[in-house]
């Protein structure tokens, strides 16, 4: 029953959570001297992974189970760990990069919502309604910026204030302006006075906590200035954003970078679904070009940027096999939050593998009751249950849906946390105190 006492408990508990949430990124992290950066290519809208590394044989299209507008038979792509998948036509640009990437398939997003915002929130924060994003948590306090971002992400991330939106042109202007500026010296008398005012006004309320942030930002701002002065960007009109990312990583300015590219991936209409093969190729091309850039850019005299950067390529979910209400030859696709495919590469990732798998691999496959409890069995590919000890998809068909049986995006993020040495107390949890999604140890090299 809802009593006055319970009412207060709920309200105050909620209020405390809000406060704790916003302070989460300020917690101390183990010092990390080994260079490790994170680059995230995001393609919002939900791209159809069946045109990428979660393809299906044309026999299933013939049986009208899943539409494939490319009409091209996918190739078997075998991971070095014994798990395989079908690489669809869109993956051609990555054909010779098998040992440079690992595919994580059959990834469940939030089982409760199929909206873009909720699933993007779930991907980035672990909560369909938003919260602390995982990327700022990858930063140790030693780097001035949590990250830089090109493009927009629509998500509710409460700890994104040290993630700076930047274009290549702005980065160039910034470098030029900072070079002309007198260096910010926190120890000179006027800055000491200004800092004393920040300190005098610091506290825990909205104004005073910002004054505290101003105070704590000054040493980092001074370092940021110094590092930015050292940034060397090409002297051309148009600079690829990757060049900015490379410089910001090499100079130790930013821990992470996000490149968010809007393609028409949200293919509800047949006309858009028909463009998915070409869009998949665009995504694979961007991934290949990014890997090439990282490999060809020296970090120091021994290592390339690829050696010190973890790359992730993702969207908020994959898509349905078809739309039941549409004619099969003119079908679009809807959101599928029960399956996603993520590409990982670079530092700390054991590459060349295929981790996880989705079901509906043949036209007559028997589906689990767990799958059928969440979907009528005609629209959605579903991540298969996963054996975390063996690092392989399970063959059994669960009777009921339990999120702990599956490879979720929470496991992918916890694996990244583990790779970056993030304190376990920040690891994601399943909803409603269901424990922590296990780290996929086989992913780490």
């Amino acid at each position: 029953m809802l009593t006055r006492r319970n009412f207060l408990k709920v309200s105050l508990g909620g209020a405390t959570l809000c406060v704790l949430d916003s302070f989460a990124p300020m917690m101390s992290w183990a010092a990390q001297n080994e260079p490790h950066y994170f680059l995230h290519l995001i393609f919002p809208g939900g791209f159809d992974c069946t045109y990428m590394f979660d393809g299906r044989p044309l026999s299933m299209t013939k049986a009208q189970k899943i539409q494939n507008y490319s009409g091209v038979e996918p190739n078997l792509w075998e991971g070095s760990n014994g798990t395989s998948t079908w690489a669809a036509v869109g993956t051609k640009p990555l054909e010779s990069y098998k040992n440079d990437i690992t595919i994580v398939n059959g990834v469940l997003m939030t089982p409760a919502f199929d909206g873009h915002l909720q699933n993007m929130n779930y991907l980035l924060t672990g909560n369909p309604f938003g919260g602390a994003s995982f990327m700022p948590l990858l930063n140790t306090e030693s780097l001035p910026l949590d990250g830089i971002i090109s493009g927009d992400i629509y998500a509710d991330q409460v700890n994104f204030s040290n993630f700076v939106p930047l274009t290549s042109a702005d980065a160039k202007t910034l470098v030029e302006s900072v070079r002309l500026k007198t260096p910010l010296n926190p120890t000179n008398q006027v800055w000491q006075y200004i800092n004393s005012r920040y300190a005098a006004n610091s506290g825990k309320r909205s104004f005073s906590s910002s004054a505290a942030k101003m105070n704590s930002s000054i040493p980092s701002a001074a370092r940021l200035e110094e590092y930015i002065r050292g940034v060397e960007l090409p002297n051309s009109e148009s600079i690829p954003f990757l060049d900015v990312v490379g410089q910001f990583f090499k100079k130790g300015i930013s821990r992470s970078a996000v490149i968010s590219e809007q393609l028409a991936t949200d293919a509800h209409a047949a006309v858009d679904a028909k463009k998915c093969p070409a869009m998949a190729e665009t995504i694979a091309t961007r991934t290949r070009d990014t890997i090439n850039f990282l490999k060809n850019t020296p970090y120091d005299d021994k290592r390339s940027l690829f050696d010190v950067t973890t790359l992730m390529v993702s969207s908020e979910f994959s898509r349905t096999m078809l739309q039941k209400e549409a004619n099969f030859d003119e079908t679009g696709t809807d959101h599928n939050n029960f399956n996603n495919s993520i590409i990982l590469a670079g530092k700390k990732i054991k590459m060349g593998q295929v981790i996880g798998q989705s079901d509906w691999r043949t036209a007559d496959e028997a589906l689990s009751k767990a799958h059928l409890a969440m979907d009528d069995g005609t629209k959605r590919l579903f991540g298969k249950p996963f054996d975390f000890a063996a690092g392989k998809p399970r063959a059994d068909l669960p009777e009921e849906f339990k999120i702990q049986d599956y490879l979720t995006v929470g496991s992918v993020i916890n694996t990244l946390y583990s790779a970056f040495g993030v304190d376990e107390k920040h690891f994601r949890e399943f909803e409603r105190n269901g424990g922590k999604p296990p780290v996929i140890s086989q992913l780490l090299g």
Binding site: S11, S161, S177, L184, V190, A200, M214
Partner: protein, 198 residues
């Protein structure tokens, strides 16, 4: 508890959650005023009607100005980039260092000076008096109070102006007038009461 009491309690909880959500979106206290509003504040307090000053030019570009906080416009009511971080603190310092330096140059007494032409008449007169530092006239507390009020009005507590005056009166004895004027304005502009909403 009876049924109607529980209904009321649930309604109250729902209202609280709705209000908290709404306030969360609308209340930007503790965030920067942003480049555009700060530009207005500068005009309101210090510059005359013919001034051409634009804060974003001092930062480098409009887009970089957005990193100091901005309202995207249209249906998007979210104020963005308003929370202090190393980047925006560096940019505020970049912009205000240049602006304060330009105000300090007024001490050269060149009537063609661009900033001298842009300052309000009363502000310019008081800045020129301050340029006689360390004369007695330049140490007049009323002069310092006026300079503070031009920029900040009554947006900061008394303790702030006291701290500001004390610092400059005691620490800038051997400073050049130009340096004093520049640093005095710079420290006002970088004050949290100048930059942050309350």
């Amino acid at each position: 508890m009876g049924g109607s009491g529980e209904v009321k309690m649930r309604l109250a909880l729902a209202l609280l959650l709705i209000c908290t959500g709404a306030l969360g979106k609308l209340d930007n206290s503790g965030e920067f005023f942003g480049a555009r509003n700060t530009n207005k504040k500068i005009y309101q307090g210090l510059l005359n009607g013919t001034a051409t000053f634009q804060l974003s030019e001092y930062v480098g570009s409009d887009a970089l100005g957005n990193l100091l906080g901005y309202q995207p416009g249209g249906l998007d009511t979210t104020f963005r980039n308003g929370i202090p971080n190393p980047t925006n603190m560096m940019l505020w310092s970049l912009a205000f260092e240049k602006f304060s330096h330009d105000i300090g140059k007024v001490c050269h007494g060149n009537s063609d000076d661009s900033m001298a032409k842009q300052l309000r008449e009363d502000v310019l007169a008081d800045v020129l008096t301050l340029c006689s530092w360390p004369s007695d006239k330049a140490r007049d507390e009323e002069l310092w109070d006026r300079l503070w009020l031009y920029a900040l009005a009554y947006d900061a507590p008394e303790s702030e102006v006291v701290a500001w005056k004390t610092f400059f009166m005691t620490s800038y004895e051997v400073s050049t007038p130009e340096q004093l004027v520049s640093d005095a304005f710079f420290s006002i502009f970088m004050n949290p009461h100048y930059l942050l909403r309350k």
